[in-house]
Amino acid sequence: MDSATDITTKAVPAAEDTWTVAGRTFTSRLIVGTGKYKDYAQNAAAAEAAGAEIVTVALRRVNLSDPSLPMLADYVKPDRFTYLPNTAGCFTGEDAVRTLRLAREAGGWSLVKLEVLSDPKHLYPDMEETLRALKMLVAEGFDVMVYCSDDPVYARKLEDAGAAAIMPLGAPIGSGLGIQNRVGIRLIIEAAKVPVIVDAGVGTASDATIAMELGCDGVLMNTAIAEARDPVRMGRAMKHAVIAGREAYLAGRMPKKLYADPSSPLAGLI
């Protein structure tokens, strides 16, 4: 047997490390937004570079004065990316439910992202209203991924109410401040039986890695890529960062020690 054949037959395929939400299985653990880009072409290129399989999208009125304006679906194609419609800009449960009913009609699927916001200054989720909206949506048959605070108590309530995924914020939306509450997010991850996606707050690649090292199932980001000087390159960086964090989590880090421990053996020193 020649060596090339030998290698081929002995090659073990890389273990499939996938995650599943509401019955849909994905390989990429990086979900990207489609807001704030220079144009839809750059947006599509960045999402491609990020290796994303899911993109969040917003639902808004059609511009009737110029229906020939470029449309998202012509660039970020729904047959390539799973669209995750959001409720960005909704401040009541009723607004969110109305928006997602329209999204379901526009797209024809039931997987959605719920976010019910409070104060425009910090865009923290209004958790009481979020939980109420979630119950309405679940009753209507939606599969709901829920943007939420980093509070393990509310995360549990969301899961009990039927959330398809829990999506705690790392830091305020669009702030790029990085993962602020590692303890809270770790506690949410440990308790959850549905996927946990850190949503919002990532500023650069190391933030995404930290989120993944905590053991979450994925990371959702928009501004960190869209507002980078080179969004396509940052998309690629984020892809690697998420993979690195995931691999490190699965590998199991070494214990931290208070003092040095030499890497070269001391025995046999001259």
């Binding site: 880009y37 639902l59 009125r61 998202l72 329209l102 999204a103």
Partner: protein, 66 residues
């Protein structure tokens, strides 16, 4: 007739059903969703859905968002 279309008053003189309205606006029905007086209208029912003076119609689609 005068409709409130995406929040703006707008006159429309075509056949009084949603299908005619959507196509008169130059929109691809596969890419939008329509709400008439706060009720969602399934795409398959546009031609069968009448519109009348004073109706509030919302036509939405997906755009970029986080």
């Amino acid at each position: 007739m005068t409709l409130t279309l995406n929040g703006e008053p707008r006159s429309f003189d075509g056949p009084a059903h949603l299908q005619a309205l959507v196509s008169s606006l130059g929109l691809d029905p596969r890419k939008v969703a329509v709400e008439r007086n706060l009720e969602i209208v399934p795409r398959s029912l546009y031609a069968a859905t009448p519109i009348a003076e004073g109706d509030r119609i919302e036509i939405v689609h997906f755009i970029g968002g986080g």
